[in-house]
């Protein structure tokens, strides 16, 4: 898993509805494909994503092999006040990528 990309608005006010866009590079191997020798390529996907803000859960996604490679996820948040986002991507087998980004609340 490579470093994810997250897009937030440059600035927001408490009460604003903001959109959060995230992208991470990952093969999202379905477990349905076969290699040239006919052996099944084992499943390897990001199975979970979560976003918290100032320690409170905002959004979660349980992902299955039906999600495209390099999973893109976007969602909304009503800004409760100043704080920091924590985004977590979890791969099959338990590897995690965690990204923390402060929201510029004016």
């Amino acid at each position: 898993m490579n470093k994810p990309r997250v897009k937030l608005p440059d600035a927001a006010k408490a009460g604003d509805l903001i959109e959060v866009k995230t992208l991470i590079s990952h093969v999202m191997e379905t477990g349905q494909r076969k290699d040239p020798e006919g052996k099944v390529i084992p499943r390897n996907i990001i199975n979970s994503f979560s976003a918290t803000f100032a320690g409170n859960e905002v959004f979660k996604a349980d992902l299955q092999p039906g999600i495209s490679a390099n999973p893109y996820l976007s969602f909304f948040m009503k800004v409760p006040g100043p704080g920091e986002f924590e985004f977590t991507w979890v791969e099959d087998g338990g590897n995690k990528v965690v990204e923390k980004i402060k929201l510029n609340v004016t």
């Binding site: 379905t30 859960e57 996604a61 039906g66 999600i67 999973p71 893109y72």
Partner: protein
């Protein structure tokens, strides 16, 4: 070392025994199931839907699925799902399940919201194996279910294989 442990440590013996029993059971099952199974088996997505809603009757037409009418590449089909909801602590959408009825594995994703979400909407990119109906099933905080459907024509199927 106890006797039980000794037995557990001889996997060759156990495996053969279990294999023989398993093979016999399988042979019996396939005989018994044969002609009946075609009528009894319902599509995987219907079972999944049943497991999610239980006895509840989802209200149709209340989940919006934004999907292309024709997807040229089934490997990456843009999807936005949303439900009109006030998203207050007492009245919000807990989750939206996305089900692709004709994919080898119909479950695609479950988006879980909170009152902090402000808006019950999420977007991603999904794989579609072939032309099919995509279903969005929303679970509300009061226990009700909403449902939406949308058909996508797929030119080149995703999912590989």
């Amino acid at each position: 070392m106890t006797e039980e442990m000794v037995e557990a440590n001889t996997p060759g013996l156990l495996d053969r025994r279990q294999f023989a029993a398993g093979a016999a059971a399988l042979a019996f099952l396939s005989l018994a199931a044969g002609p009946l199974s075609a009528q009894v088996t319902e599509p995987a997505w219907q079972q999944m839907l049943k497991n999610l809603v239980g006895d509840a009757k989802p209200i149709e037409g209340k989940v919006t699925l934004e999907l292309p009418e024709i997807a040229e590449n089934g490997n990456t089909v843009p999807l936005t799902v949303s439900v009109d909801s006030p998203m207050t602590p007492t009245d919000y959408v807990r989750a939206i399940h996305v089900i692709a009825t004709e994919n080898p594995q119909p479950g695609v994703a479950t988006f879980r919201f909170s009152p902090l979400s402000g808006k019950a909407s999420a977007a991603t990119r999904m794989r579609l194996a072939r032309t099919q109906e995509v279903i969005g099933l929303a679970e509300l905080s009061d226990g009700r279910f909403l449902l939406g459907r949308r058909t996508v024509k797929v030119t080149i199927g995703g999912c590989g294989g």
